[in-house]
């Protein structure tokens, strides 16, 4: 606590006029703040502030109105001396009373205060603790408990000090004399209904205090309870043994002030409610029991005012409750809709789903760079609308890089709130798939879409307390109402983006799709390397011929029986040669499929995302020695690329398509032609041997040193090549 000099008008406004300071030992309130569980690790926001007021000895020359205005009061001599000691009395020093949130009621004699600079004392020794209320102190005030004639009142000072705690514990102190005539303090504690929001004292013996549900008045005058047997007669009035709060039927008053201009025998209160209503309440204190219930008949206007104010109170409360109910209804409606959507989605395993998400792939140019974009189209064909609370989550999962064996694939999740998707409407979301910062696009990429319903967002909003006084209990029960998981998760679909979808064909002349080579004018480092490798003196050659000489393209091939393909592709491809149809089928999800169809191509030169070229050749072959019945008609799909990795990716993509086709066909027909089992076995045995060799080579690769491992790797590459061009045909 620091004291500053109040600059007088005309003085030099010097802010450093500190005249004293003192340290109050502030402890945390016992048991934390009521109604709020302790949150570990989070600093608690102090809800209670210290209460300060100033007690003056009688005879201080301070204007009366000024005193009340600043929260001070004058105490009767005996009480003053008793509470604050002989020194304060002798010095006629004002005393600062301080009620702390931990329940301490302390006092500091103002004239004993010094600044730590001028005369350091023990700063804590100047503070005297008068009492400990054991709950946060809300109010300190002073009362006149004796009744005085009107003309005397001006000169009579308060003879009772009261302190009010948050939970309603009230302390009253008066000065009294014991049997031997010694001055002793008379202390009494009462319990008033809490929690107390604020309180106020007028000049008389009444104290007003406000709780969330009521505004009460108590009278500490001794005359109120004459039947105390222990009090000896002839002694000046002690404190009443019990207090009887009388209700004034006004709720949630947060600030209260007793007006000093009321005529004798009545009181005027100025009150501010929690909702910001400013009220004046006039009370007639001459009636036996204070409170509007016993208003005199003559004061009918007063009564009507009182009733109106009561109506105002009620309507305030009603509007609050209505708001809460509305909010809860809205949450229930939303929950119901969500329930319907979930049921519809989960029950329709077969056929078109009521809410679907389809993904398409396209290249587009962003900031001087070609980017592969995925377009997810969320379509609501159900009868319900997707409302607040729904979120579309799209997870993009790339496969681990082939070069880095340790790395797991990266996964990115995008979440977008679905705001009001009414039945029949659709929403489009475009996401970049790559290439990423390192310029690499790790194929295949899996895009999976999920719908998520956030329970906390919808239900939590309705249950959250909006009124700090009334709904603290809701705050506590919220965690139990909500289930463990915070929402409902509905998978919509999954889409795999492979090499075949990402190929581009600059050779197919069309101004629209013509994409420049991603690597642009820069020379390929491989070409540069080959250039340097060239023997001196030999003729200069173009990069293409150098590549052809030093880096023969990797190749792989797959054979499928023509019959199988024809059966699978029969719809939509009539009138086209089987090779063309196969190529169209492979590139069905590529943007260039229309060109391929228009030009009826059976072989095509494309560019992979990283710029290397890919050659797809589809041709019909006859396989002679497999079938007993004679040569078997088959289609061979050959992949050639200068980049081994891209060749592998394409091969992998084609195999994937084939697998899916064979699975579908196998379900429909089952009449494979007669096969030469002996021949099949031999091929099978060959493959087994190759696989075994792969295994041993890989083992060796792990143990060998660098020199010999390059030879092993060379061999491994050859074996892989053999495996990739099998003599088997898919039937």
């Amino acid at each position: 606590m620091q004291l500053f000099e109040c600059p007088c008008p005309g003085e030099d406004p010097h802010p450093g006029g500190q005249i004293g300071e003192v340290q109050l030992s502030a402890c945390t309130p016992p048991g934390g703040v009521p109604g709020k569980p302790e949150v570990p690790g989070k600093p608690e926001v102090p809800r209670f502030l210290p209460v300060l007021c100033c007690a003056l000895p009688p005879g201080s020359r301070v204007p009366h109105g000024h005193l009340w205005g600043s929260g001070g009061f004058m105490l009767e001599e005996a009480l003053f001396g008793l509470l604050f000691g002989a020194d304060a009395t002798l010095l006629e020093s004002p005393v600062i009373l301080c009620g702390l949130p931990d329940g301490q009621l302390c006092c500091v004699v103002l004239k004993a205060l010094v600044t730590s600079k001028s005369a350091p004392g023990d700063l804590k020794a100047l503070v005297k603790i008068l009492h400990h209320l054991e709950e946060p102190v809300i109010f300190i005030g002073a009362l006149r408990t004796k009744h005085w004639a009107e003309e005397e009142v001006e000169n009579v000072h308060s003879d009772c000090l009261v302190a009010l705690g948050h939970r309603g514990r009230t302390l009253a102190i008066k000065a009294g004399w014991d049997e031997s005539g010694n001055l002793v303090p008379e202390l009494r504690e009462y319990s008033l209904p809490g929690p107390v929001l604020c309180a106020a004292c007028g000049g008389g013996s009444r104290m007003y205090h406000s709780t969330p549900s009521d505004l009460c008045v108590v009278d500490l005058a001794h005359g109120g309870t004459p039947m105390d047997p222990e009090e000896p007669d002839g002694r000046s009035g002690g404190l009443p043994p019990l207090l009887f709060p009388a209700s004034l039927s006004i709720c949630s008053v947060v600030t209260l002030s007793v007006s000093s201009r009321a005529p004798k025998g009545s009181a005027e209160l100025l009150a501010l409610s929690a909702k910001g209503r400013l009220m004046t309440c006039s009370l007639d204190l001459n009636s036996e029991v204070p409170g509007p219930a016993k208003m005199t008949r003559a004061d009918a206007g007063q009564r009507i005012k009182e009733l109106l104010s009561g109506i105002g109170n009620v309507s305030e409360r009603v509007s609050f409750l209505k708001k809460a109910v509305d909010q809860r209804n809205k949450a229930l409606t939303s929950l119901n809709e969500a329930m319907n959507v979930s049921c519809a989605l989960l029950s329709s395993r077969e056929g078109p789903r009521p809410v679907s998400c389809t993904t398409t792939i396209a290249w587009s140019r962003l900031e001087l760079q070609d980017v592969l974009m995925a377009t997810c189209l969320l379509e609501n064909s159900s009868g319900f609308s997707l409302d607040q609370g729904w979120t579309l989550c799209i997870q993009v999962l790339s496969s681990p890089s082939a070069l880095d064996l340790d790395s797991a694939g990266s996964a990115i999740t995008y979440t977008m709130p679905v705001d009001q998707l009414s039945p029949g409407s659709r929403r489009e979301v475009i996401l970049p798939l790559g290439p990423g910062e390192n310029g690499m696009l790790e194929l295949p990429v899996t895009v999976s879409c999920t719908l998520f319903y956030n329970l906390r967002e919808v239900v939590g909003g309705a249950l959250a307390p909006s009124d700090s006084f009334e709904d603290t209990f809701l705050d506590e029960c919220l965690p139990t109402v909500l289930p463990e998981q915070e929402g409902v998760c509905l998978p919509l679909g999954r889409h795999t983006v492979d090499m075949l979808q990402c190929l581009r064909f600059p050779g197919l002349a069309s101004p629209r799709t013509q994409a420049p080579c991603p690597l642009g004018a820069t020379t390929d480092p491989v070409d540069t390397f080959l250039e340097t490798l060239r023997e001196p003196g030999s003729e200069p050659a173009g990069p293409a011929s150098l590549r052809a000489r030093y880096l023969p393209p990797s190749a792989a091939s797959i054979r499928v029986s023509a019959e199988l393909l024809r059966a699978a592709l029969e719809e939509g491809h009539s009138g086209v040669s089987l090779c063309c149809a196969t190529l169209q089928w492979l590139l069905a999800e590529n943007a260039a499929v229309d060109m391929v169809r228009a030009q009826a191509l059976s072989s095509i030169q494309g560019v992979a995302p990283d710029g290397s070229d890919i050659h797809l050749i589809v041709r019909e072959v006859a396989v002679t020695d497999l079938c007993l019945a004679g040569p078997l008609q088959a289609v061979e799909i050959q992949v050639e690329s200068s980049s081994l990795a891209d060749m592998c990716r394409t091969h992998h993509a084609i195999i994937g398509r084939m697998q899916m086709m064979v699975m579908a066909q196998a379900a429909q027909r089952s009449s494979p032609p007669d096969l030469r089992v002996q021949y099949l076995r031999q091929i099978h045995a060959n493959h087994e041997m190759l696989l075994q060799e792969v295994q041993t080579l890989r083992d060796r690769l792990c143990t060998e040193d660098e020199a010999s491992s390059s030879a092993t790797a060379q061999r491994l590459l050859q074996v892989y090549g053999q495996l990739r061009s099998p003599s088997l045909v898919l039937l």
Binding site: P13, P15, E77, T89, L90, K117, A119, G181
Partner: protein, 626 residues
């Protein structure tokens, strides 16, 4: 222009760094402007604005992950922020420790040495940072500044062990043998900042000097209080030789004076005190120290003169200069302690000291005048200036009143003494037990008599003495009787049960009670003697001897009265006892009594004790010889 081109450059980080750096430099310059601006209000506002600017800047810098190129700037901003904050708040708080810790963690984050984020003490953090800093030489200057701030924080919280460890590491930890902090501080030489480094409010070398002075002064003061004087002298000399602001220099010189006085070198002490007085406006402590020195030398006139000057010096409220926006020596000094020799109290305390010294040295007129001044100073609330009472270190307020009354009586102003006593009683009348109606109850014998503070009895005693001086015997006797009435109600055993909150504990001892009773009885007896009622006098003297056997004055008065009444046998017995007692060494109990009582006892001291004893000896021996 250069600003423009940097903004346009394609490296976003570089331009960000430059922007931040410019902001930092601008804020530092603004703080300097605030420092120089004369108007205190404007100055305060500017400084606060600068502090907020630095806080905002720190937030932006720390919003991004820590990277090595930004670290020097970031640490500089932290240092500037701490310096400004501490100098504005005039002290370190826990926040600064957190700021430093955050800075250190950011440094470690760039080194990827943060490791498991366990609970690490600040010292462990410093250890890892300083080890990592060998990899980052560009960080060193600002790290030294931050370490200086850390050392200041530890110095102000008395964590000298941590401070020593930190300094050892900063000095290059070979010198582990040297544990002495003063030496460590002296050998620490922070690297000079580069000319292109971001601006700082205070450089590491300046901070080092401040730390050195503050530590030496603290150490010296502590040694002075604990009594190891040669060490204190060394440290204080060290403090005085460093760069030292004037108010601190005054304190150091005063402490040197105290130290030398205690070591028995009054002349050298005086030299330092004179130097301190020349030093500046805060002349209180050296003047008080000078008065102690003169008292020790026995030069009362000079002692009182210095006390008078002290009162005068303290009456001037010297407008304290606005502190610099830097870490200054004053910030690192310990909280002023009343036990410290440099504590000179307030004006009223000094005035009280002056008045009581006057009374003790027998200058009654001066004492009376000073006491009246003091009371006026304390009670006059029309004056807006604040003047705290001598409490809690001095005697409590009622005793000051009693001393004033005693001084007035001593000076022969009995009427004024009566006024002072009346004032005391009227001001505390509401606290006194209600006597009138209790009187009857007490006569019935049903109720215990009320307890009354001792100083009320003492007031009546002094009032009686004042009446004696005015020649009003009747009033005097009635006051003494009233005083005795009150004194005999006090039962020492139950004294704790009374009203708990008076300040009597300082004067309420059994010894005081006994002496008061004896004094009142003797005084009344003397009055009876003066009015010729010797039997009554004899009764009182007898009682007083019984009350307080150690009080020889009572015995002398009794002896005289016995002789006057010609009760030879009793007189002879008493004489033998007295004669034996006077041969024993006198106990100096008188000096533990309150000053007003000491003064009072001097009044009722029989003037010619030796002569009386001698007279008796001869009169007793004569019959034996015969």
């Amino acid at each position: 222009m250069s600003h423009q081109t940097r903004l346009g450059s394609s490296e976003p980080r570089a331009s960000c760094l430059d922007l931040w750096r410019e902001k930092n430099d601008w804020l530092v310059r603004q703080a300097k402007v605030a420092q120089d601006s004369g108007l205190s209000l404007r100055r305060q506002q500017l400084a606060q604005e600068t502090l907020e600017g630095l806080r905002g800047l720190l937030h932006s810098v720390q919003g991004l992950p820590a990277v090595v190129p930004v670290l020097p700037l970031e640490l500089t901003v932290i240092c500037n922020f701490i310096i400004l904050r501490v100098s504005l708040a005039q002290g370190f708080t826990e926040d600064q420790a957190q700021d430093i810790q955050q800075g250190l963690e950011r440094v470690l984050a760039t080194q990827e040495q943060l490791g498991p984020r366990l609970e690490r003490g600040l010292w462990e953090l410093w250890d890892s940072v300083l080890r990592a800093s060998s990899l980052l030489p560009e960080l060193l200057p600002v790290l030294h500044l931050l370490a200086g701030l850390q050392a200041a924080l530890w110095l102000s919280t008395d964590r000298l062990g941590d401070m020593a460890l930190l300094l050892q590491t900063l000095n290059g930890s070979q010198s582990r043998a040297s544990e002495h902090l003063l030496l460590l501080l002296k050998t620490w030489s922070p690297p000079a900042e580069k000319s292109d480094a971001p601006l700082t409010l205070q450089d590491a070398r300046g901070l080092r000097d401040v730390l050195l002075t503050a530590f030496a002064y603290r150490q010296g003061l502590q040694d002075l209080i604990t009594g190891s004087l040669p060490r204190a002298l060394n440290s204080l000399h060290e403090a005085a030789s460093g760069p030292c602001p004037r108010p601190v220099l005054v304190q150091v010189y005063t402490a040197l004076g105290t130290c030398l006085r205690k070591m028995g070198n009054p002349q050298r002490a005086l030299l330092y005190l004179v130097a301190a007085l020349k030093g500046g406006s805060a002349g209180g402590p050296p003047l008080l120290e000078a008065s102690r020195l003169y008292r020790q030398l026995g030069d009362t006139a000079a002692e009182l003169e210095s006390l008078e000057l002290l009162v005068e010096a303290l009456s001037v409220t010297h407008s304290s200069e606005a502190p610099q926006l830097l870490i200054e020596v004053e910030l690192l000094l310990p909280q002023p302690d009343p036990a410290s020799p440099l504590h000179c109290g307030t004006q009223s305390q000094a005035k009280h000291l002056l008045a009581s010294r006057c009374l003790q040295t027998g200058r009654a007129e001066d004492a009376a005048e000073h006491y009246l001044d003091l009371l006026a100073l304390l009670l006059d609330d029309s004056e807006p200036r604040f003047s705290p009472p001598p409490c809690p270190s001095g005697p409590c307020m009622p005793e000051v009143f009693l001393e004033a009354a005693a001084a007035l009586i001593q000076a022969g102003q009995a009427q004024d003494a009566l006024t002072v006593c009346e004032e005391l009683l009227s001001r505390t009348s509401s606290l006194l037990p209600k006597m009138s109606w209790l009187w009857e109850d007490a006569r019935k014998g049903t109720r215990e008599p009320p307890q009354c503070p001792l100083w009320v009895s003492a007031t009546h005693l002094l009032q009686g003495q004042a009446w004696v001086q005015l020649g009003a015997q009747k009033e005097a006797v009635s006051e003494f009787s009233w005083c005795l009435e009150l004194l005999f109600r006090v039962t020492p055993k139950v004294k704790e049960q009374g009203a708990p909150s008076y300040c009597e504990q300082c004067c309420r001892s059994d010894v005081v009670l006994q002496q008061l009773r004896a004094a009142a009885l003797i005084s009344r007896g003397l009055e009876w003697v003066a009015s010729g009622q010797d039997t009554k006098a004899l009764q009182d003297f007898l009682l007083s001897v019984q009350m307080c056997p150690g009080n020889q004055d009572a015995s002398f008065h009794l002896l005289q009265t016995l002789r006057k009444l010609d009760r030879r046998d009793e007189a002879t017995a008493l004489w033998w006892r007295l004669d034996a007692q006077t041969k024993l060494p006198q106990e100096d109990t008188v000096w533990s009594l309150p000053l007003y009582l000491q003064t009072y006892l001097s009044w009722i001291h029989p003037p010619d004790r030796e002569a009386l004893l001698e007279e008796f000896r001869t009169s007793l021996l004569e019959p034996c010889d015969l």
